[in-house]
Each structure stands twice: as structure tokens, then as C-alpha cells.
């Protein structure tokens, strides 16, 4: 037996690899709106190709399942067929010998249960009734359903003002979104099937930066209806805009000194310049919207408003911070990110000169806080994160920016407690080294404590069970939000405008996307959700006809796209 051998890749293997890559790109740039039954059938067939052929449920069951799904698609099925599909998928899940079979069964089971209405629609109506039938992937991927191909064509034609008009049809914040949008559209960009997605974000910014002239929107005749919008963040502003151009009399009630919500109080100005934000807001307010700043609305006043106004829209956001539950987190010097960024938003700059700051967390907010701390004069900024850098939910550019500005990232270190000095002031954060573990329900790899440190490893690898991070100045905890599910992230490559290259291959690899199809449940609460303008716009619609006095919640009604 040769000890050494050269591994050769056959032509067929190479072709197979290429096809796998192409399939990966296709799935990454997937449209979210295929027929659920057809998609399930394709999924089951694909899974069946991976069967080794040994055990019955995987070898035969998947094929039987495929037949039944085909029956549904070919209008041969009855409602009992759907029950049989469920039973079949369940048997495959329960009794297959390995993950090739039981995970396929599990997926099929999730599909038939999650898409039950669609299956029934096929059986009853002999047609697909899936509501998400947008055929343009990027538009389907944009929570505001902005006409992306439309404005890209207008940009290409050099009609930048028209491009902005087209964007504002669905999203009144093109300047803001051209800078800080999370651009989920790009994940669905069809160009990604070929190689990489277009840099849609930058194209939008280009349009707003190069408008030939400003314009004013057409405003409908006054309707005489009065509407209160509580909260002046992106949702409130958007709602107010669409209501205003419909001719309603809109008043925004804002608790803080300025409008903008998280755009102002969550995103640092180096990412979203204040003049751009102010310009965008002012353009909207010029549609005749009244504003009452520093006007907090309590329950009693809300009741009064419901009587006084024809409609009330609640767009109150998520500004409360959540504690991490660490011992010592109430010590002096420990501040929440919300607190810190809010003060900055109001122009009250804290002084971190000469201080050592520990930031806990790995999302965009953590990066904002870290980078802001550098700007506020901190001597050293450490970001402690329990997972790996590649697991961080922050955008790559933000992580790279933080590192470039001198922030030290300590990955795989989970905070355990905040240490204080005699005066009760924060003196450091004790962290526990972690090892990476199997993915959790959020589909991201979890970390767990690296407990099993063998004695001989002590002091040289992980050293101690706990490690202390001295931070004799401040500890900023970024606790209020759950880590966000990663969407496609990319950076601009070179001078080629309009093209994006992923800087971490895993971003677009289907394996790293939500395997459970639960991304809808794990949507973060970002400072600017691309869906906020959409929600504001949607909220404005029913007011047009009958002016319901039912308060609409912007934050609560989560759109569960994956599960419909």
C-alpha cells in the first residue's frame, strides 16, 4: 500500500463540484416566492439523490413522497393526500437510519406543515395560491418592495431624479437607505446566480447623490382627517409622509429632541451623516407634517388621542435596553449602548479620554459603540464576543472598520461578571473562554464554555478557566437586542461600481444561511429596518378609506415570510 498518493479529481468530480457551486449560488440568490409545493417536491427530489439506497424510508419513502407531491401539483390529489404526505414525511423522519434520510423527512415535514394552506389551495383550486408571487427576486427580497430593477434602469439612463422618485414611491428614505440599509435585496440578486450580486445599495446612493434637481411630491386634496403618529423614527416618518401626500393632516409626536429615532440615536454620524439625515427628514416634513418634539405620550394621553384624532399610529420602536444579567452590571461605569448612543444623538458627547472600554457583543451596535468610543478618546477599546468573529452579526465593513481603528476583538470569550474596585466602579470584565459548538435553533453555531481544560494545558493554552479583561474605565454592554440573522453582506470591490464581492465566502453559502427556515423569527430589530418605511406606508393605506382608530403597532406585527 502506497503511503503517499496523489489525489486526483476526475472530470466528473470537477463537473459535480462546479454544479454544486452553481447550485449554492442559485440557492443563496434564491427567490423567496416559488410555489411551496413545487419547491417542496424539488427539495425532496434533491434529498433523494443523496440517499445511499440502504434503508427503506430514505430510498423508497422519499420517492413515494415525491410521487404524492407530484399528485398535488398535477391536480390528482385530495385532502387525504396531504395527510398521507405528512405521514410519509414523518415516517421518513422517524425511522431513517441517518441524517441523509431523517433530515430530509424533517424538512419535508416542516414544509407540509408550514405550507398546509398552500397544499390545500392546490388540492381545492387546482392552482397555486401562494400570495408571495413576486417574480423579481430582489424586489421580493426588499421588505419595502422597492422597484429595484426600475431605479437601476433609471440610474443607467442617467435619470437620477426619476430614480429617486421611483424609490420614494415605496420608501421615502432613499438618502438614508442609500447609506445604511442592510440591503437584503442583494442576497436575492439574480446576478448572484452567475457570480456575485450587484451593489444595489451603492446604486441607490449614487442616485440620491446625483439628482439633477430636487422636486416636490404631488399632494392630494385635503381630506380634513387628523392623524397622530406617535414616534418620529423611520416608521413614523414614513407613515406620516404617505398620509400627508394623501391629503391628511398629520402630527408626529416625538419624545426626544429630534426626529429620526434609531437613525439618529442608534447609528453614529460617521455612518449616517447628520446633515443627510436632517435633509431627508426635512424634505418629508415639507409635505406639511406637524411635529411636536419632546412630547412623550402616556397611556392616558393615548386614550385622549384616540378620541381627538381620526387615527393613531404607534411607531414607538425598541429603545429600552435589556440587561445581560451579569453580576456587577449595575456598577458605576457600566452603560448600555442605547443610553450611550442616545446621548450622542442628542449631541451630549461623553468623554472617554484615557479610559479603557470593554464592549460586550458582536453586532453592528457593538461596532458602533466601539468605534464611537475610539472617537470619544478611549485609550483602548476591547470587544468581547462569545462566538467567533465569523459568527458576528455585524456587517463585515463595520468589523473591519472597528479593527482598523484599533479596537481589539476578543472572540470566543463570554462575559461572566463585571469586576468593581473598592469604590464600586467598574474595574474589569471576567470572561470565560469558549469553544464553538453545534448550531442552535437560531441556525448559528453556538459557543459553550471550554470547561475541560486539562491540567497540563493550564497556563499555556487557555491558561485559566476565566480570564480577566481589565477595563478600568467603562464596560458597555450591548444587550438589548438579539443577535441578528446574517443576511448577504459584501463590500465594494475596487472602482467597479455596481458590483459586489463577498468578503467572507460563508455569507452567501447556503450552509450558513438559516437552515431551519426560521429567519423570519430571528429577524433582528435593527436601527433602521428596511421594513420600517414599508410598514409606515402600509399603515397609511387603511387610513385613506375609513380611518380606523385602532392603534397599529409597528414593532409587533412581524411579517413571517418564511412561514407565511
Amino acid at each position: 500500500m502506497a503511503r503517499l498518493h496523489v489525489m486526483e479529481r476526475s472530470h466528473a468530480q470537477a463537473v459535480m463540484d462546479d454544479l454544486h457551486d452553481a447550485l449554492g449560488r442559485r440557492l443563496a440568490a434564491r427567490s423567496l416566492a416559488p410555489c411551496p409545493v413545487e419547491f417542496t417536491a424539488a427539495l425532496v427530489n434533491l434529498c433523494a439523490t443523496q440517499s445511499c439506497g440502504k434503508c427503506t424510508p430514505c430510498r423508497v419513502g422519499l420517492r413515494a413522497l415525491s410521487d404524492l407531491l407530484e399528485d398535488v401539483l398535477e391536480n390528482r390529489a385530495t385532502l387525504e393526500t396531504i395527510d398521507l404526505i405528512e405521514k410519509t414525511a414523518n415516517t421518513i423522519y422517524l425511522s431513517s437510519d441517518c441524517a441523509i434520510g431523517y433530515e430530509a423527512g424533517s424538512m419535508a415535514l416542516m414544509a407540509v406543515r408550514g405550507f398546509r394552506d398552500d397544499f390545500e389551495h392546490h388540492v381545492r383550486e387546482h392552482a397555486c395560491g401562494f400570495a408571495e408571487n413576486e417574480r423579481v427576486p430582489c424586489v421580493a427580497g426588499c421588505p419595502a418592495n422597492v422597484d429595484i430593477p426600475g431605479y437601476i434602469s433609471l440610474v443607467e439612463a442617467g435619470r437620477y431624479t426619476d430614480a429617486v422618485r421611483l424609490i420614494r414611491k415605496d420608501n421615502p428614505l432613499p438618502i438614508v437607505c442609500g447609506r445604511v440599509c442592510e440591503h437584503p435585496c442583494e442576497m436575492h440578486c439574480r446576478r448572484g446566480i452567475v457570480d456575485d450580486p450587484l451593489n444595489i445599495l451603492a446604486l441607490k446612493r449614487y442616485a440620491t447623490d446625483h439628482m439633477e434637481e430636487d422636486y416636490r411630491p404631488w399632494i392630494a386634496e385635503k381630506t380634513g382627517r387628523r392623524i397622530a403618529v406617535i414616534g418620529g423614527g423611520p416608521a413614523g416618518i414614513s407613515c406620516a409622509y404617505y398620509l400627508a401626500i394623501m391629503g391628511h393632516d398629520v402630527t408626529i409626536f416625538e419624545q426626544r429632541k429630534h426626529l429620526g429615532g434609531m437613525l439618529r440615536y442608534g447609528i453614529p454620524s460617521y455612518r449616517l451623516p447628520r446633515e443627510d439625515l436632517d435633509q431627508e427628514i426635512q424634505w418629508i416634513l415639507d409635505c406639511g407634517i406637524k411635529v411636536e418634539l419632546e412630547h412623550a405620550v402616556d397611556g392616558a394621553e393615548l386614550e385622549r388621542m384616540r378620541a381627538d384624532f381620526d387615527a393613531v399610529y404607534l411607531a414607538i420602536g425598541a429603545h429600552n435596553d435589556k440587561k445581560l444579567g451579569l453580576p456587577g452590571e449595575d456598577a458605576e461605569g457600566v452603560v448600555s449602548a442605547v443610553q450611550m448612543l442616545r446621548a450622542i444623538g442628542d449631541g451630549e458627547m461623553p468623554d472617554f479620554s484615557g479610559e479603557r472600554v470593554v464592549v460586550i457583543g458582536g453586532g453592528n451596535v457593538a461596532m458602533d459603540v466601539a468605534r464611537s468610543s475610539v472617537r470619544l478618546g478611549a485609550e483602548k477599546v476591547i470587544i468581547a464576543y462569545r462566538r467567533r468573529i465569523c459568527d458576528m452579526t455585524a456587517q463585515d465593513a463595520e468589523i473591519a472598520g472597528a479593527e482598523a481603528e484599533g479596537c481589539q476583538i476578543m472572540e470566543l470569550n463570554a462575559p461572566v461578571r463585571v469586576e468593581t474596585d473598592e469604590a464600586g466602579r467598574v474595574a474589569g470584565v471576567v470572561v470565560q473562554p469558549q469553544i464553538i459548538w453545534a448550531p442552535g435553533p437560531s441556525c448559528r453555531r453556538r459557543a459553550r464554555a471550554a470547561h475541560r481544560v486539562r491540567p497540563r494545558d493550564r497556563g499555556h493554552r487557555t491558561g485559566h478557566r476565566f480570564r480577566s479583561v481589565r477595563g478600568h474605565g467603562r464596560a458597555v454592554q450591548v444587550g438589548p437586542r438579539r443577535d441578528r440573522f446574517r443576511r448577504g453582506r459584501a463590500r465594494i470591490r475596487g472602482p467597479v461600481l455596481g458590483r459586489r464581492l463577498p468578503d467572507r465566502a460563508r455569507d452567501r453559502h447556503p450552509r450558513h444561511q438559516c437552515r431551519q427556515g426560521r429567519c423570519g423569527e430571528h429577524r433582528p430589530i435593527p436601527r433602521l429596518r428596511p421594513s420600517d418605511p414599508a410598514r409606515g406606508r402600509a399603515a397609511a393605506r387603511p387610513v385613506q378609506g375609513q380611518a380606523p382608530v385602532r392603534p397599529l403597532r409597528a414593532q409587533g406585527a412581524r411579517r413571517r415570510r418564511a412561514h407565511r
Binding site: 445511499c52 413515494a64 414523518n90 422517524l94 431513517s96
Partner: protein, 580 residues
């Protein structure tokens, strides 16, 4: 010991006991389909799945060990639904035309589906449509294959041949001839073990019963039938007869009722084989010690098993000149019937229709060999029936075999000795040959049980016996996997023998591929004991004392290895070839 709860009953079993065995120890029978102990424990069918508390998914009982504190439910709703659905899956790829299936009434899939109450088939049918050459003695119908993989395992692990393999992939995975060859183009020994270990009717032997019925109807034909030794251990099994009832004499009665003119015994020609083969061995030993005998190689191998002949020809052709040239008892009988006996009856040999009842599939191929023909070119044995076929014929003739009286077999070819009847069990040929070789070498009969060291079910047995002052080193192997080990050891010089008996089937002919099928049971030991018992009770226990054998030598052959004996009772194994 491990303590667990199965279906609310506390069970205590040793570590490394499967859930299946643990349940069986308290009388809970978990259904299985693909499972064969020690041979096929791959958990392919997923019929034996059970629910184990704390695990969401089901667990295969056949290949998972018990753990302390385990709580098992063998028939929970979850397990029942999945078990039934898995059988429904299998039925969606199974030709369920049970009425025209050779295994109807003896099919594990059929009983399982019945037991589980499957009355509707919910899934669309997908049949592969592959059927192998119906003229070949072994026939595969993939429309009935459930991919349990047993045939692959037995062929590879027990018979060291590897004819079968998984072909194609995934949902289209199929079991067929490895490498996509025609079955007749493989080195298949035709042992038929894949047939007797198939849970369904996917594998079967060619059915030749109609040819026999036609011959029985033909007034011109004189129909003779010979009954192989191992047949008397098993022919009554599928007819509901006990060993005591299913004697060879009662079978003779049934065959006569069916219309056979003469019922003879292969035991007769087994004794004849001993005379020829024993003499050949002594001749070899003698020649080897003479000048010029250096080229004579040892051991000499027996030649009565056609499966073994096919195996040695395709795997070790260089050993062929060490294989005895004696024909098998079946073919010796055929040759004697169409020469000596035709002459005795005063009829043309072409009038004789010679049938043999064998526990074997390879015998069908052996009878059809170009070398096994008489002067006119007609085969010495016209049709070979397996035990399963003869049972079908008895049923088709609506003969109540149990109600028939026992009848003696016909003379003179119906006479056999105790030494002949043991041909059907591993070690029997060796035992019988040694008894007569001892006599031929010393002129005295040994104790008939003097060579009992070669009996028993060990896969590879070896003994040295004293033969008139010369030590004779003998070995016995059964199952081609054991034959392979023995031959490899011989080639490696680790062992050396003078005489080796090899039987292709585990246990010898009693475990033959033409025997009745009892899924999951290995009956070779039990059937072999019947033969050893018949030998012990036999009035004559030495082949050379068989009066009919003496008669044919006196009247026809003269003496063993005579010119006529060489012509009719010996064969050239090189005159035909196995496919490459």
C-alpha cells in the same frame, strides 16, 4: 447485566444484547424483515424500529444494543405507524402478484403485510421491470426485490463469491449482478444460498416441473427418478409432515402415485462414487510413491458437489487436476440408468426419462453440461428437480402424501448403504470414503464410526487417520467461504492434506439451495442429524458392501477404475468452461 424496560416489562440481559434479542428473551417478538443474525444486521428495512423514551426518532431493534435504564416501546403508535408505512414503501416497489409467486405462503413480506393489516397500497407503484434469463437455473426478478441486501451478504460473506451487488444509486438503488454482467456470465457457483435466504420471491430456481409432468404423460417414456440423500430430511417440511412421517419410502409412494415407473435412490450411486473415488485416491497415493509420481499433487478434492466444481473452475482453475475425476452420484446414476439399466430393461436409452430430486440448484446446471451425455448425445439426467419443485408437484397432483403407505424403492438401483445416506451432510463423503478406503487398503472393515471426527458443523475440520500404517491427512470444509480459507492456507503452505471434501453449501446438501425455505432458520444441523441417524440404523454401513454396487461391477463395470468405469463414471472437468 443491563436492566431495562420493554413494553412495561423489566428485562435483564447481558451487555451488548440487541433490543431485538432482549425483547425476544421475554417473549416479545419484534417483527423483522431484512435481518439475518450475524449476516445481515444493517437495519435496512426499518421494520424493527421501536420507540425509546427520550429519543424523538425511532431506533432499529436489530442493531442497537440495550442500555441500562432504557425504556422501550415496541408497539407504540409512533412505531406502529412508521413500521406499517415502511412496509407500504416496500410494497410500492414490489410486484404483489402473490398468486403467481413461487414464494406465496412462504414470504416474509407477505406475512408482514398481512400481520400489519395492510389492505390498501397508498403509494404509486414503481417496478424495475428487470428479470434475468428464465432459462438459467437461478432467476432474479427485481420486481420482487426489497433490497434487504441479504443475497449480497450471503454471497460475499458465506460463499466468498460476490455475484450480487448494489447497482445504481439512491432512489433507484437496485440489487443485481455486480458489474452489470449477465448472471450466466458470472462465476456464480449456483449454490442457491441467495434463494434460500431471500425473504421474497425475487430469487428462485428455474421451475422444470412441467417438463416432468409432460414426460409422465408420455406413454413412450419410461420415467425413472432418483432421490438424493438430503431430500429425505426435508421433503415433508412444506407438506406438514414430521421427519418420522416424511421417509424416503413415503416419498417413493408419492412419486409412484404421480406416475413414475421406477423410483431409485441416489444412495446407490453415492456408494458407487465411494468405490470410484476411494479407489482413485488410493491409486493416487500409490502412484505418488512410485518413480515418476512426483508430479502428482495433493490433496485430492472430492467432486460430488457441482457448486464446488463451478467454484474451483472459476476461482482456482490450477487446482482442477487435483479434483477427483469421479462424476457426482447424480451423474453416475444417470449414466448407469441409461446404459446398464436400459440394457437390463431391454429398452433403447432414449426411451428412458431420467429425473433426479436434489436439494440443489447447481445440479440443474451439472445435468446440462456437454460432458454429461450418453452416446446419442442425450443428457444422462433429463430433469433435475429441487425439493421445492417436487413438493409443488405433489401438491399440484393433489396427493395427500401423509396418507400414503410407505413403499420400498425399486431394485436394484434403489439400494443404498448408511455410508451413502451421509453424503448429504458435511463430512459424510469423507466418512464414507474413509470406511471403504480402509477396507480397500487393509482388506478389513473398520468400525463404521471410526472416522466420526470429520462430522459436525465446524466450517473447516481436519483429522489424520491411520490407513494401514500410512497416515492420511484429511480435511472437510463446507460453505465456499470456508473452502476459500482452506485453499488459501494450502497455497500458503500453512497446511497440507491428502484428501479434502468440500461442499458448497453450509452444512452440506442438507443446507442446500434447493431445499425448502424457512426464513431466518438454518436447518442444516437438524436435517444432518436425520442422516447420521439413518446411517447409524442402516443394516449395511459400507459402500463396498452394497449388493447392488457389487452387482453392477460384476455385471457391467468389472472393477473400479475399469475402462468402462472410466468412460461412464468419470468426467473431464476441463472439457467445459466457466465464463471468464
Amino acid at each position: 447485566m443491563v436492566k431495562l424496560i420493554i413494553d412495561d416489562r423489566v428485562v435483564e440481559v447481558p451487555e451488548h444484547t440487541t433490543i431485538l434479542d432482549a425483547a425476544a428473551s421475554v417473549g416479545i417478538k419484534i417483527p423483522t424483515l431484512c435481518y439475518l443474525r450475524d449476516l445481515n444486521e444493517v437495519g435496512a428495512c426499518r421494520v424493527c424500529v421501536v420507540e425509546v423514551e427520550g429519543i424523538d426518532q425511532l431506533v432499529a431493534a436489530c442493531n442497537n444494543y440495550v442500555l441500562d435504564g432504557m425504556i422501550v416501546h415496541t408497539n407504540s403508535r409512533k412505531a406502529r405507524i412508521a413500521r406499517k408505512a415502511n412496509v407500504e414503501f416496500l410494497l410500492s416497489q414490489h410486484d404483489s402478484e402473490c398468486t403467481s409467486c413461487a414464494r406465496s405462503g412462504n414470504c416474509s413480506l407477505q406475512s408482514l403485510a398481512n400481520d400489519l393489516g395492510i389492505t390498501d397500497l397508498p403509494y404509486p407503484k414503481h417496478l424495475e421491470g428487470f428479470r434475468s434469463d428464465p432459462a438459467f437455473p437461478l432467476i432474479r426478478n427485481n420486481d420482487k426485490c426489497i433490497k434487504c441486501l441479504r443475497c449480497i451478504q450471503i454471497c460475499e460473506k458465506v460463499q466468498a463469491t460476490g455475484v450480487w451487488d448494489l447497482t445504481s444509486r439512491a432512489s433507484h438503488a437496485s440489487v443485481n449482478v455486480a458489474g452489470g454482467k449477465e448472471l450466466s456470465q458470472t462465476d456464480c457457483a449456483l449454490c442457491g444460498q441467495c434463494i434460500t435466504h431471500c425473504p421474497t420471491g425475487a430469487l428462485r430456481a428455474r421451475d422444470d416441473t412441467e417438463r416432468v409432468f409432460d414426460a409422465l404423460e408420455d406413454q413412450e417414456k419410461i420415467c425413472l427418478v432418483q432421490i438424493a440423500p438430503a431430500v429425505r430430511t426435508s421433503w415433508g417440511e412444506s407438506l406438514g409432515l414430521t421427519h418420522e412421517e416424511a421417509t424416503v419410502e413415503r416419498l417413493a409412494s408419492a412419486l409412484r402415485a404421480m406416475g413414475f415407473d421406477y423410483v431409485f435412490d441416489t444412495n446407490f450411486s453415492a456408494d458407487l462414487t465411494i468405490m470410484e473415488e476411494g479407489s482413485e485416491l488410493l491409486e493416487r497415493i500409490k502412484k505418488a510413491s512410485e518413480p515418476g509420481g512426483e508430479d502428482i499433487k495433493f490433496p485430492m478434492f472430492t467432486s460430488c458437489c457441482p457448486g464446488w466444481i463451478r467454484y474451483v473452475k472459476s476461482h482456482y482453475p490450477e487446482l482442477l487436476d487435483q479434483v477427483s475425476t469421479s462424476k457426482s452420484p447424480q451423474q453416475m446414476f444417470g449414466a448407469v440408468a441409461k446404459t446398464y439399466y436400459a440394457h437390463a430393461l431391454g429398452v433403447d436409452p432414449s426411451k428412458i426419462f431420467s429425473v433426479s430430486i436434489m436439494p440443489c440448484v447447481a445440479k440443474k446446471a451439472e445435468a446440462a453440461l456437454p460432458t454429461m451425455v450418453g452416446e446419442t448425445g442425450d443428457p444422462d439426467v433429463d430433469v433435475v428437480l429441487t425439493v421445492r419443485e417436487v413438493d409443488r408437484m405433489i401438491r399440484a397432483s393433489h396427493i395427500d402424501a401423509g396418507a400414503l403407505p410407505e413403499q420400498e424403492l425399486d431394485q436394484p438401483l434403489g439400494v443404498g448403504t448408511g455410508a451413502a445416506v451421509i453424503f448429504g451432510a458435511t463430512g459424510g463423503v469423507m466418512d464414507a470414503a474413509l470406511r471403504s478406503a480402509y477396507f480397500l487398503a487393509t482388506g478389513e472393515n473398520p468400525d463404521p464410526d471410526a472416522f466420526s471426527g470429520v462430522r459436525g458443523l465446524d466450517g473447516w475440520k481436519e483429522k489424520t487417520f491411520d490407513l494401514a500404517g500410512t497416515p492420511l491427512r484429511v480435511a472437510v470444509a463446507h460453505g465456499l467461504g470456508n473452502a476459500l480459507k482452506l485453499i488459501e492456507a494450502l497455497r500458503a503452505g500453512e497446511v497440507s492434506y491428502d484428501f479434502v471434501e468440500i461442499m458448497a453449501c453450509p452444512g452440506g446438501c442438507v443446507g442446500g439451495g434447493g431445499q425448502p425455505i424457512h426464513d431466518g432458520c438454518e436447518l442444516a444441523g437438524e436435517r444432518g442429524d436425520v442422516l447420521w441417524g439413518l446411517d447409524a440404523q442402516a443394516p449395511i454401513r459400507f459402500s463396498h458392501e452394497n449388493p447392488s454396487v457389487k452387482l453392477v461391477y460384476d455385471d457391467f463395470f468389472g472393477h473400479p477404475l475399469s475402462e468402462r468405469a472410466e468412460e461412464l463414471l468419470h468426467t473431464d472437468h476441463t472439457a467445459w468452461s466457466m465464463p471468464k
